[in-house]
């Protein structure tokens, strides 16, 4: 994968996904050491180009880069600084002239990482673009499930909530189906996008049906301010019908785990109690995020084979 972009899970094959997950499992040990640093990427420059603020994802990438001894630079630019004076691709070209080794891009609009990758010499990792893809989130979710369940093949994964606006849902749909899981989605009809079945999933509007036999239950964050009143009537009704608590979780398999990409709207997608206790594995997801991103940076920016070629 050296020098390649990672723009989405859609374009990966099963072997690539498994290579990333196996590499991440080897990286996990580094995070348990006293000195949490290896010299693998010494001298490399990694740029976090975040057009949409996300402290969690940005920090995870930053820690991952630093544990591999890379120089990590945060180039954060909120919506306000995205002025008309500088076009998106101008920003990319400016950055390219500073010769980064990897650029990590996050943007609120689908497709921006791809457009930037088309301009840049350096490989681009998509850290989330609009409702399109969030590949590192899906990879860390797959890593978490593999550790919890020992496998992904043959599992039933239920994704619940705002499927229409969720990049996490799309990337996880691609990833889990490629690894042989059955993926189901559920939410109010207004939050299920047209033709979602074409991605190889079954769509439900009943929590009871989607949870029946589920090994993994993934709740998605609801954008309360934007959607309440427009695409569902109220937060109260949403949490009553699609919010998860221990009682509703009984529809799933007894050993089902609960996941959430964070941050949780407590009492909306998940009950307060379920957020903090097993079977939810939310903090394991976060922990795995660092190892997963270390693995990706190593696979993309590490140069052992390049050195061999020279």
């Amino acid at each position: 994968m050296i020098g390649q972009d990672l723009l989405g899970i859609e374009k990966l094959d099963r072997e690539q996904i498994e290579l990333i997950l196996e590499t991440a499992e080897r990286m996990q040990e580094i995070g348990t050491r006293d000195v949490k640093k290896v010299p693998t990427l010494r001298g490399r420059t990694i740029v976090n180009l975040f057009f949409e603020s996300s402290t969690r994802t940005q920090t995870s990438f930053e820690i991952a880069g630093k544990r591999l001894a890379a120089d990590v630079v945060n180039f954060s630019t909120g919506a306000s600084s995205l002025s008309k004076a500088e076009s998106l691709l101008d920003t990319a070209k400016t950055l390219d002239a500073m010769d980064p080794d990897v650029v990590i891009v996050r943007h609120r609009v689908a497709g921006v990482p791809q457009r930037i990758a088309d301009e840049l010499k350096a490989p681009v990792i998509n850290a989330g673009d609009g409702a399109h893809e969030h590949p590192t989130q899906a990879l860390l979710d797959m890593l978490t499930v593999r550790q919890e369940k020992g496998r992904i093949e043959g599992l039933t994964v239920a994704i619940i909530g705002d499927i229409a606006h969720s990049r996490v849902a799309r990337s996880n749909i691609y990833g889990f189906t490629k690894l042989g899981a059955e993926v189901r989605v559920a939410g109010p009809p207004t939050l299920l996008p047209v033709g979602i079945e074409s991605l190889g999933v079954k769509a439900f509007t009943s929590l009871r049906e989607v949870l029946d036999g589920a090994d993994v239950v993934m709740a998605l964050r609801i954008q309360l301010e934007r959607l309440a009143g427009a695409l569902f009537p109220s937060v109260r009704e949403y949490s009553a019908v699609f919010g998860l608590d221990r009682a509703k979780l009984r529809f799933a398999r007894p050993d089902a785990i609960v996941m959430h990409p964070g941050p949780v709207n407590r009492g909306v997608e998940l009950s307060n109690e379920l957020t903090d206790h097993r079977p939810s594995v939310i903090l394991d997801q976060v922990r795995n995020g660092v190892a997963l991103r270390m693995a990706l940076l190593y696979l993309i920016a590490g140069r052992p084979s390049a050195l061999h070629r020279e």
Binding site: L88, V109, A110, Q114, G130, A131, E133, V194, S198, L199
Partner: protein, 431 residues
């Protein structure tokens, strides 16, 4: 060069259903004769053997950006792009700065075009002041100034009462009202067709129903008012049935389709290339098949480019933020030739959709090669291959989905009023 003999081409003149090899003699700006073996005395000879000779193309839907946005296009560059694409007459939409909602703007466009443009330019005036969809424009005065139709294209008249009154009042002048049919509420923030592809890409969708509902409304209002309604850039398969029924009912409803809606699907949006973003958006293969058949059958009357130039830096932004529209004048003929190559339409009927039909809808000159008509003529090589590089073309803008593509079907020469204004080997020829 007052006398020109175009010799040995396949002459396609839809106005008289003529399809056969003939010579065409141009004299004094007019068609002087069409026939076999015309004598070649005292005239310049243009060999057209193996080529088609047809009435110059007529594009009733362009955005030429002058006055106000000359950095995108102006009447000179737009006119040059037109004749390079075989177009001899253009209608230009009213969404300029200032808006063409006042006779002074209409006259300005006509004066400038007469000086600057090698193609004939016919302004379309706004239907409502400032394209705001509220107060109707002075249609009688605008018509007297030279407007050939009324449209708020680019914007939408969402208030049905305003549209009703615009249509009613337009019967006083008797020219078509052109509708950009898109229900803005239903479109919402959609930037591409709503469907499997938008779901995959995570881009906000714009459903076909936004177009179909608006067309259904305006057809009802056309029936109510007896006005002439021309439906711009039909993109949805479901719209075709609505138009077909309106015509069967005898309503004065006509329609156009763009080269891109005839040949591209929403799969073209997959690379997030903003040169594939336009309004209405590219639809599915099923929609494309239905609008192609509608054009072949004449349910859709004509091809119009919706030529919408934008500066590179305006398009080099997020897909959601990019302005809608693609250029089309220089590529239209080659692109729509796909229908002839697929055996879906005859050469003569395609030429009709490109010239004779739009001319009849808008009652403008052109669309014929009959003797004593103005010599607006195009010569094309139907098999000619060329690579379209927008930077080498004549439009000021480059936002084309066909940039860098090899296209088949080449414009060899264009005459406006008997004057050679474009020749493939020399480029635009303007004295």
């Amino acid at each position: 060069m007052s006398r020109v003999l175009i010799r040995g081409g396949r002459v396609l003149d839809p106005s008289v259903d003529h399809d056969g090899v003939a010579d065409v003699l141009i004299d004094g700006g007019l068609i002087a004769a069409v026939g076999r073996d015309l004598p070649a005395t005292d005239c310049e000879i243009v060999e057209a053997s193996g080529h088609w000779v047809a009435p110059g193309f007529v594009d009733v839907h362009t955005h030429l950006r002058e006055p106000g946005q000359e950095y995108k296009e102006d009447l000179a560059s737009g006119g040059r792009a037109a004749v390079a694409g075989g177009f001899t007459s253009l209608a230009c939409m009213a969404n300029t700065r200032p808006v063409n909602d006042d006779p002074s703007v209409t006259k300005y466009i006509l004066d400038r075009a007469a000086k600057d443009s090698p193609a004939r330019i016919h302004p379309i005036a706004a239907a409502t002041r400032g394209l705001k969809g509220e107060v109707m424009t002075e249609m009688v005065a605008l018509r007297e100034a030279g407007a050939i139709g009324f449209s708020d294209d680019g914007e939408v008249i969402m208030d049905a009462a305003v549209m009703r009154h615009v249509l009613e009042y337009s019967t006083l002048v008797g020219v078509p009202v052109i509708v950009h049919a898109e229900d803005c509420g239903l479109r919402c923030d959609g930037v591409m067709n709503e469907g499997i592809v938008s779901t995959r890409l995570g881009l906000p969708g714009n459903p076909v129903e936004a177009e179909e509902i608006h067309i259904a409304r305006d057809i009802r209002l056309a029936r109510m008012t007896g006005a002439r309604l021309h439906i711009a850039h039909v993109s949805a398969g479901g719209s075709v049935e609505l138009i077909r029924r309106a015509k069967e009912e005898g309503l004065q409803v006509t329609a156009e389709v763009t080269p891109h809606h005839l040949t591209l699907t929403d799969e073209a949006n997959s690379g997030f290339d903003t040169s594939t973003k336009m309004a209405p958006p590219l639809r599915t293969a099923r929609d494309v098949a239905l609008v192609r058949r509608a054009l072949a059958e004449g349910v859709i009357d004509c091809v119009a480019t919706d030529h919408a130039p934008h500066a590179v830096y305006e398009k080099d932004v997020e897909f959601t933020a990019a302005p809608c529209g693609v250029t089309g004048l220089e590529t239209a003929f080659a692109v729509v030739m796909d229908l002839v190559r697929c055996g879906e339409i005859s050469p003569l009927e395609l030429m009709r959709r490109m010239s004779t039909s739009p001319v009849r809808i808008f009652a403008i000159p052109g669309g014929t090669l009959v003797v004593r008509s103005p010599a607006d003529v195009v010569i094309v090589d139907p098999a000619g291959e060329w690579v379209y590089e927008p930077g080498d073309g004549f439009s000021k803008s480059r936002n084309s989905p066909w940039a860098g593509h090899t296209l088949t079907g080449r414009v060899m020469a264009t005459f406006v009023g008997g004057r050679l204004v474009y020749q493939a080997r020399r480029g635009v020829v303007v004295q």
